[in-house]
Symmetry: C2
Subunit: 103 residues, 2 copies
DNA sequence: TCTATAGTTCCAATATATTCGAACTATAGA
DNA sequence: TCTATAGTTCGAATATATTGGAACTATAGA
C-alpha cells in the first residue's frame, strides 16, 4: 500500500467541510488534532469506538479535505490541513476550533 | 396558526449549524438573507424548487437556530439570527458568509 | 517465518435525509 | 362568502449515512 490520496485544496468544497464538521465524533477528532497541533495516529485519539467506525469518520474527514493522513510503517499519521483550509476559507475552521475549544 | 417556535440560543448546537450549512440550497438561502440583510419571504428567494422542498429546508434552518421566521398575514418573513449566532459562536457564521459571498 | 499491531475494506442492518406531489391551513382581498 | 395566495404537513419513493463485526493488507519486530 502506498500513500493515501487527498483532494487538492482547489477541489475542496465548503459544503463538504460543513458536513464533515456536523458529526460530534468528527468534530472531536478535529478538535484533538488542533489542540495537539501535531500528527496523531487513529489509535492515539481514543474515542471509544470500533476501528471500522473510526476509519469511516477519517475517510469523510479526508475526503472533505480537512485531514491529511500519511502512512508511516504500520501507523497512519493524521494532521489537520489547517493552513490550506484557512487560506481557502479564511476564518471558518479557526472559528469552529475556537468554538469547540471553549466548553 | 400562531407564530413559529424557534430554539433559544442557549440550545443551539454547533453540529446542527454545521449540518444545516452543508446543503447547497440552504447555504444559498442563508447567503441571500445575509446579502439582503432584511426579512424575506420564502417566495422572494426564488430558488427554483417546489414549495414543499423549500419548506423542508427552512425547517432545518430554523431548527438549527440559523433562521427566524415571523408570520405576517399570509407571508412568512425570514431573517438570519446573525447577531445571536455570532455571540454564541464568534466568527463562524461570518466566515462562512464571507466564503460564499466571494465566488 | 511467525505473530502482533494498525488500519482499511466489505457487508448487512438500521437510521436519517431528500425530493416532490397532493392535500391542508390561514389569511387577504374582492 | 368566495377565491387566490403563501406556506406547511403528509406520505411514499429514493438516496445517503452510520454502525460494527469479520475478513483483509501491510508492516515491524522477534
Amino acid at each position: 500500500m502506498r500513500q493515501i490520496k487527498h483532494p487538492p485544496i482547489e477541489q475542496v468544497e465548503l459544503t463538504d467541510i460543513m458536513y464533515a464538521l456536523s458529526d460530534p465524533a468528527r468534530l472531536e477528532i478535529v478538535g484533538l488534532l488542533a489542540k495537539e497541533g501535531r500528527q496523531m495516529t487513529c489509535g492515539e485519539l481514543e474515542l471509544n469506538r470500533p476501528k471500522s467506525s473510526m476509519s469511516h469518520h477519517f475517510k469523510i474527514l479526508r475526503s472533505a479535505g480537512l485531514v491529511e493522513t500519511i502512512i508511516d510503517g504500520k501507523e497512519h499519521l493524521n494532521s489537520l490541513r489547517l493552513a490550506e483550509i484557512e487560506q481557502k476559507f479564511p476564518g471558518v475552521l479557526n472559528a469552529v476550533l475556537k468554538a469547540i475549544a471553549s466548553p
